[in-house]
């Protein structure tokens, strides 16, 4: 059992959970993830490790409750416990002093981006962070990211905060400016966003790294479910990734495979909502 020490709501459906997992906290490097299984009969859910503290033996998870399983995970209060937490999995991010770096986060991808920004800042990179979301409710971790960044930009689709539009607009501007053009770009978010970022940086040949989130079970390379096409080669996101060279990723294939269980997910979602309804009924 892995005790939950803190469960804080950062935004609608977005929770910050601090979990006691001493071995993982000791071994973890930025870019790695854990597989969480709340209880018997539950799914195995891959979640990026947002932060860790080897001394206190804790890891921090930022969890967006999008499906039935993640909703149940975030319903675990401080004082409760997660039955299974396995990791740290995946390859750590390659961190060096690139010089100028742009970090782009979309939606809950921002939570995955956070540890990267932290590590890049520690390596003395000059960071511009661009965070985007549908509206102000979906802008997360601004307070944490801003102090790590030389420049911190926010975009929202409805213009409720920051620049109205997508993250790609300010990125395109920066890329077009020879003096501000970065040596590396890190982007984490919905597949269409990462694809758009890759297409923007491609003509400038700026090294671009994305973190992928395919369907995954064991997280150790055993099942092959998380396979993605990278430069025409089959790679397993869990062991070869989750970060890859954005210019080599087959984003269309990835987003297609992500819909494999849409029907089943929808059915379960409906069921969960129904059950929740019964629970709150007097």
């Amino acid at each position: 059992m892995f005790p939950v020490l803190l469960n804080e709501i950062l935004a609608e459906n977005l929770h910050k959970m601090v979990v006691s997992a001493p071995r993982i906290a000791r071994a973890r490097k930025p870019g790695q993830f854990v597989i969480v299984r709340l209880d018997q009969g539950e799914e195995r859910i891959p979640l990026t490790i947002g932060d860790s503290d080897a001394e206190s033996g804790t890891i921090t998870l930022f969890i967006q409750a999008v499906g039935a399983s993640t909703r149940r995970i975030v319903n675990t209060p401080a004082g409760g416990a997660l039955r299974d937490v396995a990791g740290p999995l995946g390859k750590p991010t390659h961190i060096e002093n690139f010089g100028r770096v742009v970090c782009v986060g979309g939606g809950v991808g921002t939570a995955v981006l956070f540890p990267l920004v932290k590590a890049l800042a520690a390596a003395d990179n000059r960071i511009t962070t661009i965070v985007g979301g549908r509206s102000s409710h979906y802008i997360i971790l601004a307070d944490e990211l801003a102090p790590l960044s030389e420049k911190f930009l926010v975009t929202t689709e409805d213009g409720s905060i920051g620049i109205k539009g997508f993250v790609t607009a300010p990125l395109a501007e920066i890329l077009a400016d020879r003096h501000r053009r970065p040596q590396a770009v890190f982007a984490v978010g919905p597949v269409p966003m990462m694809k758009a970022v890759a297409e923007l940086t491609r003509p400038y040949k700026v090294e671009t790294v994305v973190s992928l989130n395919p369907i995954m079970i064991d997280g150790t390379g055993m099942c092959g479910g998380c396979r993605v096409q990278i430069g025409g080669e089959t790679k397993f996101a869990c062991v070869d990734g989750p970060e890859f060279d954005a210019h080599l990723v087959d984003f269309d294939g990835l987003s297609d495979r992500l819909t494999s269980y849409r029907k089943e997910e929808a059915a379960r979602h409906a069921e969960t909502d129904c059950k929740l309804g019964r629970e709150v009924a007097p």
Binding site: E43, S69, A86, T220, M222, C223, V239, D256, S260
Partner: protein, 469 residues
């Protein structure tokens, strides 16, 4: 009771058949197919054994179970003794009695098989093991070993790891098993379906080991959570048995269409995560009317029989050689056929064909013929030009095999590997790092449960020697 039939009387007894669930019933559920011998059947079968001096059967067993001795005890109806003999030699007898390929091992060596049918050793092993589980109060208590003061880390809770752990605990060593998944058993749990090996059996066998003092820590991935050098510091010896498990891709077009599974993913979803088996499982699995499984081994049989149970009307095995060349156990092939599985032999896949929305719709195949024997000694399959054809399929499962997983070995640069990434180990399991031993699929590549157990047993003996030095 005495076991004093004359050889002539023994020879007159015919081999008993395993009672089974009827095929039409079992192909719709996940209940165990083989029901186990009745008391009377077991006694009669035990009396068929000539308890011959040559003990050829024992030589055919990778863990050298004292077969004639436990069968003799059974024939005398001294079940506590039979159980003690069996369990003394084999850490997982209820598993082996179900999944071992006895027909190519102990039973293949049985003297009675020369003229007629071998003694049904596997059935008897299962009978005694199941009896023991049902009668804990009647068992002869194992003496608790004196602590040796030495500790051993076992990596992987599959058949090799469990066997080694049991052997080492019986020597008084403090054993800790580290398992990457959230539950015990390794391939026994995620790979072998419930209808061949009920999970309850694994739970009970594992409970016996924890009863001996073996500690099991799940969710620890060696190579990630902890490394081999760290284990080497914390324990007096290490046994690596983390399995193979990195699916070999088919490398044909269409492999990334939706509805294409590697066998490990399909089986893990259903076996470990209970997708499709329990209504309340939160893990989904794709079910379709037509399911094509590529491969001819036991894993392929497990996949196709699972697909059938999930409701496939047409569950098919596609294999590029002929039925005689299939590596699957005879019993698995027989059961699959009875359950309505279609065998499409001498057929190789060329392409997985997809619909517009990128779901699998068919498998384009070519007919094969067998040519000259290849390196493996089996006749090499050759495509027949112009014989291409399509089979409609909504799910395609790749069960052609697995390779070595580099996750652990990548964290141990001093560990010598062969060109396929398998750990190099000598006959005792010793690796290039002193005090570190290895066995099972990570050394052999994909093999069987019992060979992995054999490795676990011999490595445990070598580790015991190493710790005494």
């Amino acid at each position: 009771m005495k076991n004093d039939l004359t050889p002539k009387e023994r020879l007159a007894i015919e081999r008993t058949d395993m009672p089974e669930l009827p095929a039409n019933v079992r192909s719709g559920n996940f209940e165990e197919v083989n029901l186990g011998l009745t008391d009377e059947q077991a006694l009669t079968e035990a009396r068929r054994c000539l308890t011959c001096k040559s003990r050829a059967c024992v030589a055919g067993c990778p863990v050298a179970v004292s077969i004639p001795e436990f069968i003799d005890a059974l024939a005398r109806l001294d079940l506590p003794l039979a159980a003690r003999i069996l369990r003394g030699d084999n850490a997982l007898p209820a598993v082996c009695g179900r999944v071992c390929p006895q027909e190519t091992q102990c039973e293949a060596q049985c003297v009675r098989g020369i003229k007629g049918d071998a003694v049904a050793i596997g059935y008897l092993e299962r009978y005694v093991a199941d009896w023991a589980m049902g009668h804990p109060g009647e068992l002869i208590k194992e003496p608790v070993p004196a602590p040796s003061g030495r500790s051993v880390a076992v990596v992987g809770c599959g058949p090799a790891g469990l066997t080694a752990a049991g052997e080492l605990a019986r020597q008084g060593h403090a054993v800790t098993i580290f398992e990457a998944l959230h539950d015990t058993g390794g391939v026994l749990r995620y790979g072998i379906p419930e209808f061949r090996l009920p999970k309850e059996i694994i739970d009970q066998e594992v409970a016996l080991l924890t009863g001996l003092g073996v500690q099991i820590e799940c969710n620890v991935i060696i190579g990630k959570t902890l490394t081999i050098p760290e284990l080497r510091e914390q324990f007096d010896a290490v046994f690596i048995a983390n399995g193979a498990g990195l699916p070999t891709m088919l490398n044909i077009p269409g492999e990334n269409l939706k509805g294409v599974y590697a066998a490990n993913e399909f089986l893990t979803r259903v076996n470990l995560m209970e997708a499709g088996r329990r209504e309340d499982s939160n893990t989904p699995v794709i079910k379709r009317r037509e399911v094509a499984v590529i491969g001819g081994g036991n894993t392929a049989m497990d996949c196709v029989r699972t697909a059938r149970r999930l409701g496939a009307e047409r569950a098919m095995i596609l294999y590029r050689r002929g039925e005689a060349e299939m590596p699957a156990r005879v019993e698995e092939i027989k059961h699959a056929k009875e359950e309505g599985v279609e065998f499409i032999m001498l057929t190789a896949p060329l392409e997985i064909v997809g619909s517009e929305d990128r779901w699998v719709s068919a498998l384009r195949c070519v007919r094969m013929e067998l040519g000259q024997p290849d390196d493996s000694g089996r006749r090499r399959p050759m495509p027949i030009h112009g014989s291409e054809f399509e089979i409609p399929a909504g799910v395609v499962i790749n069960a052609v095999g697995t390779g070595a997983n580099p996750l652990l070995t990548a964290s141990a640069p001093d560990l010598k590997l062969n060109k396929w990434g398998n750990i190099v180990a000598d006959g005792t399991g010793a690796t290039s790092i002193p005090g570190v031993f290895a066995g099972g699929d990570i050394v052999r590549g994909g093999a069987t449960v019992i060979l992995a157990m054999g490795d676990g047993k011999s490595a445990a003996a070598a580790i015991n020697q190493y710790l005494k030095r």
